[in-house]
C-alpha cells in the first residue's frame, strides 16, 4: 500500500523561454535532512528549509554567466559546489553571501555534472565522459582531461551511487539513436559500458532512475509508450568483461498512456515495489496527463494518484519520503508513504476502494434508508460511525487503545486478552482496524506459539471475521488453528483468506480427512455451510431423477457392463447404489472438505503437496468427491442461491488432481477398484454427451448456412410452386 499525502508548494517557478525545458535544473540534499538545494535553470541556487517552505539562502551568479549544473553539497566539508559556464567550478560555504567572491577554478574541459552523495567525495563528470574526484581536480584544475566518449556520443543522464564504500558514477549516452549505460567505478577505476535494448518505437527513454538494492544497482527507465523497464547491474560483479554488453532488462510496468505518446514524464523508484510516475494520465480520470501516480510494480496496480495543476515539466526528485515535482508555476513537495506490500493488502485496498465508491454515489441521504435502513452502505453508515464515535468517546476512559492491547497480549491472562481484543474490534470501524488487526493477530499467534496454554479462539475468530486479515499478514494463524483443532477458525480462514498457499491447503485437507468423524461433529461450524451440506445429503433421500438424467451407473447400455462377468457386475451394481445414498464422511467433515474445495489454488503448486496424502485418505476423499459429483449431476438438489457451495468445475478439478497425484497407488490398491471404474463410467458418460453435442453442432452449422437468404430487392417477379 502506498499513499500520497497533502502536498505543499516549496517555491514558485519562473517559466523558461523554451517551454519544454524544466525551470529547475536540480534539487539536491544538504547535510540537513530538511534542507533542499534548488538550482534553477539560469543563474541562482536557493537553499530551502522544506518543512517551513522557507528559503534559507540564495546565491546568484553575475548577469551573463550561467549555471550549467545543479549545485550539490559536499557532505564532508559542508560546502556547496556548482559549475557555471561549463568550465568554472565554484565552491562556497553557507556563510558566504556572494557567490562571486567565493572560490572558483577553471578547468580545461566542459563539465557535465558534479555529483555528490553522503559518504562519498564529490565527483566531477565531464561532458566527454571522464570522471575526476573534486579534490584532485581542484588541486590541479588545468590537468588534461581525456575523452572517453566517441565523437557523436552525448551524455543524457547521470547519477552517482555509493555502495559499500565503493563509489559509482552512472551515466547514459546517446549515439546515433543507440543508448548506452556507463558504469564508472572509482578506486579502483573501471568503466563498464552496456548497450540498452532498443524499444520498438526507437524512441529514447524519457527518464532514468537508479537505486541501490541488495548489492545491486537497479536502473529504472521509462519510455514514451508507457513501458517502465528495470535493469540490474551488480555492484560487485565480474568487471573484467570486455566490450559492450547488452543490458538485460525486464518490463516492470506498462502504463496506460492515453492518446498519443508521453511528452514530459518521468518515473522514479520509491522502493522495490513502488514507482512514482509523473506526467502520466490517470487510468480512471482519462483526460490530461498531469498526474502523479504511485504504482505497485508487483501487482501492476495503481496505489495512489494525484492531479498536479498545470503542465508537468518532466523531472521528479525523491528524497526522504518526499517527492519534489515541478509543475505549472510551482515546485510542489508531496510526502508519500509506501508500506511493504502483500497481495492481501493490495486486495484489501481494492475492497476498501469499492466501498468508498459506493459510498460517494449515495451523496444525498434519502429518507428511505434513514427510516428503514435497507441500504446499509448509505447514510446509515454515517450515522453508525457517528454513533460509534460517540460511544468511543464515552468509553475512552476505560477502553484500551491498540498499543495498550498489544502490550497486554504479550503478558496478560487469556480471559483479559480475549475480552480486550473483542472490545477493541467491536468498537473500532473497519478503516481504523485495517492496520491494527494484522498486528493484533500476529501478536496473539506469537504468544500462542510461545505458550501452549495460551489460546484465544474467540478473539482470533473475531479478527478473521473483520475481513481485514489475510494469510500473508499472519502466516502462522491457520496452522495454529489446525494445531489446536479449532476447526471453526480453520473454516473461517479458508473462507475469508484469499491467499492461502497450497501447502497449507493440503495440510488442512490432510487434517480434515484424517480426523475422526466424532471429533468434528461436536464442533460448531458456520451455519450456512452446514445447512448447505444438510440439504445436499437430504436431497438424495427424496429420490427421483429429474431432467431425464440417469447417473451412468444405472445406465443399461453402459459399455463396460457387458464385459464384466455376471456375478461381480451384480455386486457392483449394488455397491455403488449404497455408496450413493450415504455420504462417505460425516456432515461436519464434509463441510470442512467443501471449504478446501473452494479455496483458490494453482495445480502446479498443489500437485506435489497432494502426494503427501496416503492411499486411505485419497480413497476416502475421492469417494466424497464422487458423492458430491453425483448429487450435483442428479440435479435433484436445487441449489439455494447465496449459499457458498463448491461448483461442479471445482469438484471435477479436484478429482483430476487427486487422480493425477496418486494414479499408480490407486491402480494398485484393491479397495479403489470399484471407485475407479465408477469414475471411468462418469467420464464415459460425459464423453458420450459431448460427442452427441458435437453431432448437433454439425446440424446447427447447416442451419446457419441455410439462413443465408438471397438479397431481395424492392421488386422482383418470382415463381413459386404450391402443391
Amino acid at each position: 500500500m502506498a499513499a500520497l499525502y497533502e502536498g505543499f508548494t516549496l517555491c514558485g517557478l519562473v517559466p523558461t523561454q523554451n517551454a519544454s525545458d524544466s525551470p529547475i535544473q536540480g534539487i539536491e540534499l544538504d547535510g540537513d535532512s530538511d534542507h533542499a538545494v534548488v538550482t534553477d535553470s539560469t543563474r541562482s541556487v536557493t537553499l530551502y528549509k522544506v518543512s517551513d517552505q522557507k528559503p534559507l539562502g540564495s546565491w546568484t551568479v553575475k548577469q551573463g554567466q550561467l549555471l550549467t549544473c545543479p549545485a550539490v553539497c559536499n557532505f564532508q566539508t559542508k560546502e556547496y559546489v556548482v559549475v557555471s559556464d561549463n568550465k568554472v567550478i565554484r565552491v562556497w560555504k553557507d556563510e558566504d553571501l556572494n557567490i562571486d567572491k567565493a572560490f572558483k577554478a577553471t578547468v580545461s574541459a566542459d563539465v557535465w555534472r558534479v555529483h555528490s552523495a553522503p559518504g562519498g567525495e564529490p565527483v566531477v563528470l565531464f561532458q566527454r565522459g571522464a570522471v575526476r574526484l573534486l579534490d584532485s581536480l581542484l588541486s590541479a584544475p588545468q590537468q588534461p582531461i581525456e575523452d572517453v566518449l566517441s565523437e557523436e556520443e552525448v551524455i543524457r543522464w547521470s547519477t552517482n551511487i555509493v555502495a559499500e564504500k565503493q563509489h559509482f558514477v552512472l551515466f547514459t549516452t546517446e549515439q546515433k539513436g543507440e543508448h548506452f549505460l556507463y558504469v564508472q567505478r572509482l578506486n579502483p577505476n573501471t568503466l563498464q559500458k552496456y548497450r540498452l535494448e532498443r524499444e520498438d518505437s526507437g524512441a529514447p527513454p524519457l527518464s532514468f532512475s537508479a537505486s541501490l538494492r541488495d548489492k545491486h544497482i537497479n536502473l529504472l527507465y521509462l519510455y514514451p509508450n508507457g513501458c517502465v523497464y528495470q535493469s540490474v547491474v551488480a555492484v560487485r560483479g565480474p568487471v573484467e568483461l570486455e566490450g559492450v554488453q547488452t543490458l538485460p532488462r525486464s518490463l516492470r510496468l506498462r502504463l496506460p498512456v492515453g492518446e498519443g505518446k508521453l511528452g514530459a514524464a518521468s518515473a522514479v523508484a520509491l522502493d522495490e515495489a513502488h514507482v512514482a510516475v509523473v506526467g502520466m494520465p490517470h487510468p480512471s480520470a482519462r483526460t490530461g496527463k498531469d498526474f502523479l501516480c504511485i504504482w505497485n510494480t508487483n501487482f501492476q496496480t495503481l496505489q495512489a494518484g494525484k492531479e498536479m495543476v498545470g503542465r508537468i515539466h518532466g523531472p521528479v526528485w525523491c528524497y526522504l519520503g518526499k517527492l519534489f515535482v515541478p509543475h505549472g508555476k510551482a515546485l510542489s513537495v508531496i510526502p508519500y508513504e509506501c508500506q511493504k506490500s502483500s497481495l492481501a493488502s493490495a486486495l484489501g485496498k481494492l475492497r476498501h476502494a469499492g466501498i468508498a465508491v459506493s459510498k460517494s454515489s449515495v451523496a444525498v441521504p434519502s429518507w428511505n434508508s434513514l427510516l428503514h435502513g435497507d441500504q446499509p452502505q448509505g447514510p446509515a453508515k454515517i450515522v453508525d460511525t457517528r454513533k460509534s464515535k460517540l460511544s468511543r468517546k464515552s468509553q475512552s476512559a476505560t477502553a484500551l487503545n491498540v498499543d495498550q492491547v498489544l502490550e497486554l497480549i504479550k503478558t496478560g491472562p487469556v480471559e483479559e486478552v480475549q475480552r480486550e481484543v473483542e472490545a477493541l474490534v467491536s468498537r473500532g470501524d473497519a478503516q481504523d482496524l485495517q492496520l491494527s488487526v494484522g498486528q493484533l493477530a500476529c501478536h496473539l499467534v506469537a504468544r500462542s506459539q510461545a505458550e501452549t496454554a495460551f489460546y484465544t479462539p474467540g478473539a482470533l475468530a473475531q479478527l478473521v471475521q473483520t475481513q481485514c486479515l489475510c494469510h500473508s499478514v499472519c502466516p502462522d494463524l491457520l496452522l495454529l488453528a489446525l494445531e489446536h483443532k479449532d476447526y471453526f477458525l480453520c473454516q473461517l480462514c479458508l473462507q475469508l483468506f484469499p491467499d492461502i498457499p497450497e501447502v497449507v491447503t493440503c495440510a488442512c485437507l490432510k487434517t480434515f480427512i484424517s480426523v475422526p468423524d466424532g471429533d468434528v461433529e461436536m464442533v460448531s461450524l458456520e451455519p450456512d455451510s452446514v445447512s448447505f451440506m444438510e440439504g445436499l445429503v437430504a436431497a438424495g433421500d427424496r429420490g427421483g431423477q429429474q431432467n431425464g438424467f440417469s447417473p451412468p451407473l444405472f445406465e443399461e447400455d453402459s459399455c463396460d457392463a457387458h464385459h464384466q462377468p455376471k456375478p461381480p457386475q451384480h455386486q457392483d451394481k449394488k455397491n455403488p447404489t449404497l455408496q450413493l445414498e450415504a455420504c462417505p464422511v460425516g456432515l461436519h467433515k464434509a463441510v470442512l472438505l467443501n471449504e478446501v474445495l473452494q479455496t483458490a489454488y494453482s495445480d502446479n503448486f498443489l500437485l506435489p503437496h497432494l502426494k503427501d496424502l496416503n492411499a486411505q485418505q485419497v480413497i476416502l476423499f475421492l469417494q466424497y468427491l464422487q458423492f458430491v459429483y453425483l448429487k450435483f449431476s442428479q440435479d435433484v438438489y436445487t441449489q439455494t442461491p447465496g449459499l457458498r457451495s463448491p461448483t461442479m468445475t471445482q469438484i471435477i478439478d479436484w478429482l483430476c488432481l487427486l487422480l493425477d497425484a496418486h494414479f499408480t497407488v490407486l491402480v494398485m490398491a484393491p479397495d479403489a477398484k470399484g471407485l475407479l471404474s465408477n469414475l471411468e463410467s462418469f467420464v464415459k458418460s460425459q464423453v458420450k454427451l459431448f460427442s452427441e453435442l458435437g453431432k448437433i453442432e454439425g446440424s446447427l452449422q447447416e442451419l446457419h448456412k441455410m439462413k443465408l437468404s438471397k438479397d431481395i430487392s424492392q421488386y422482383s417477379i418470382e415463381v413459386i410452386e404450391l402443391f
Binding site: A363, I712, Y715, S716, I717, V719, I720, E721, L722, F723
Partner: protein, 684 residues
Amino acid sequence: MGELKVHRVRFFDYMPTAIRAMAFNAHTERLALARMDGSVEIFNFTDHYFQEKVIPGKDSRSIESLCWVGGRLFSAGLNGEIAEYDLENLRPKYSLEAYGGPIWTVISNTQGTQLAIGCEDGTVKLFEVLEEHIQFERNLDRQKGRIISLSWHPSGTHIAAGMMDMIRVFDVPTGHAVQRLLVDRGIGGSKSRETVVWSVAFLSDHTVVSGDSAGKVQVWDGHTGTLVKTHLVTKWDVLALSVSKDESSVVAGTSEGTVIQFQFIAPTLHQQDKEWVRTRTFKNHTHDVRALAEIETAIVSGGMDTHLVVRPLLEKFDEKSHASGLRKIHFPHRNLVSCAKKAGLLLFQFPGQLELWRLGDSDGHGKPGDRLPLKWKPEKLLLLKRKGEDHICCSALSSCGGWLAYSTVSSVRIYRLQTDNNISITKVSKLPKVLRSAHQLCFSSDSSKMFAASSQSSVLVIALTQSECKYVHTLKPKSGSRQPIHLMTTSVDGKWLAAANSDCEIHVYNLQKLKLHCIVPVYGSCPSAMGIHPTTNNLTMVHADQQLFEYSIVEKQYTDWSRKLQKQGLHNVWLDRDTPVTHVTFNPKNPNQVVLHDMHMFCIIDQSLPLPDQKTQFYNQMTLRSLSEQERPSHLHAFKICKTFQDLLCVSLLDDQSLVVVERPLLAITSQLPAPVRQKKFAT
C-alpha cells in the same frame, strides 16, 4: 396445384407512427391507443385483440393522454385542447380549448363525473362530465411549473400531480395542495437537470408511486409525504406507469424499452409485512415505452418502436392457450393497399398521400424458386397528396384502374384516371352533397358505381359516368346499428354488396333492387376480411378468431362446404395464428380456390380437396415437395399455405393469374426508427 408467378413488392414504404398513449376500458375491454400523428385506434381485447376502429389523425392534433369515462373516450394534447371522440362516426365529437397552455395529461375520477387535466401553466383544471358535453368547473391551486402527470385517488378526494422535481398532492374539495413530495435528481451529470415526474399512480391506501426522468420508480406515503422506497431501474427515463386493478402490481415502462413489474408482496416467505418489490423485467421493445396498461391477465405496452405488445402474465393462466401467447401487433388490421386486378395497378394509402404504382412485367418462364428477368420495371404513376389537415381514412381503386377515391373525416374526393399512355388525373368536381365522408369506399367491378360507407352502417350508392357522379340511393340496415362499417365488398356480377360493421353484423344488399337482401347470422367475432365469389356468389368471411365461413347469398344459408368445415373444425395450427386474415380474393379461373392472407402467410384454400383433421400435418408444403408425383394426392389437403413471404400487407390475385404480394419487412420499419437510447453493452 402448380406454379404461380408472384410479383414481390417491397416498395410500399408504410411507416407506422409511434404510440404515445393508451387507455384500457376494463368494462368494455377495449384498449384505446393514440399515436404520434393524432390517430386513435380501438382494440377489442375480448375479440382476439382485433383492431375494431381507427380514428384518423389530423395534422394539428397531438394526443398526450387518453381517458375513458364509461364508454366515452377523451383525449388531451399539446395543442391545449380536450377532445371527445365519436366512436360511431370515427371522428372527434368536439374539442374544447382548456386555456392552460399545452395539456400533458387527462384523467377521470372513478365515478366518471369529473375530468382533471394537467396543464403547462401549472394548473390542474377540473371539468364536469355532462351528458353530451363537458364543462369547466374550477382550477386547483396553481403551481409553479408544469403538471406532467396526474392520478386520482380512487375515493376521489385527492389528486396526485407529477411536476418538475416534485409531486403535489391536492385535496380536491378545497383545491389546496396538501403535500409536496420532492423528487431527487439524477446523480452525476444529470444533477443539474430537472427531474420530470413522467407518471404517478395514486393507490387506494394513499400510496403514491412515481416514475421519473432520473430512472427511478419511487413509492411514497401520501398521508405523510414521505418516501418509502426507491427503485433505480434505469439510467434513462421511466416514462409510464400502470397499476393493476387490484393494486397488487405496478408496471413501469422505461426508455430502454423494458417494462418492469413491481409487486406488493412480502419480501420473505410467511411474513405479513408487504412491500413493493421489483419482480420481473420484460423487454419487448427497442425504444421508449411511452404507453402502458396492466390488464387482468397481461401487460400491454407500446412506444416509439410503433408496435403494440400484449405480454400475458403467465401465472394467471392454467394452461397454454391462445390468450397466453405473446402478441405483437405491427400492422393495422385493415387494408392499406388496393389492387386493380384488371389493370395491374396498386394503390398505397399513407395518412398524408396516395401512391399509384404500375407493376412490372416479365415474359420469361422459370422453374419454381427462380427470379424472372424484368421486361419493364414497376413504375410510380402518381403521388396524390391529400388536401386539408385531416388524414386519409380510406381509399379505393376501381379494378379497371379508371377511378380512384379517398376519404377523410371531412371530405370525399373522387378522381378519374387515365393510365394507358399518358397519365392524367382529373378530379370529379361536383359530388353529391350527401357524400361528406366515408368509413369505407369501394367500386363495383364494372366501375359504374361507387359505394361509400356512411354513418349508422348505411351505404351510399353513387353512380359514376364519364361526365358526372350522381347519388342513387342509401342502403340502410334493418338492425338500426349505429356502428361504422369497416368492410365492404361487391360481387363481380354487380348484383350484391356485403357490408360488415363493428357490431359483427354483415348485411347483404341486392344492388338491382337497392334493398337489403339478408343478414348473415351474426357470429360472435368481428369479421376481419370477406369476399364474394365471382361465379357462385358465395360470401366467404374470416373472423378475428380465425373462423372461416362460406355463406350462399342466393340460398341465404351456409354452404355445405362451410358446414363441413365447421363440423370438422379448423385445424389447431390455423386457429393458433396470431394475426387476422385481412384479405380474401378468388381465382376466377378455378372457382374452387380462395386466396387469404395474414401478416405471416398466404393461403390458397382448395375446396375440392379434403379438409385437414387435427392429426394431419397442417403446413405440408415441404413434405409434399419431397414426395413423388404418385404419393402426393394422398397427402393433399385444402389449405395450401405459403410462408415464403413475410410481413405481408396485401396478397391479391390479378386477372392474369399472377399473384401480387406486398411485403413491408419489419426490419425496414425498424431501420427508419430513430436511434434508441445508448446502452452499455458488454465490451463496447
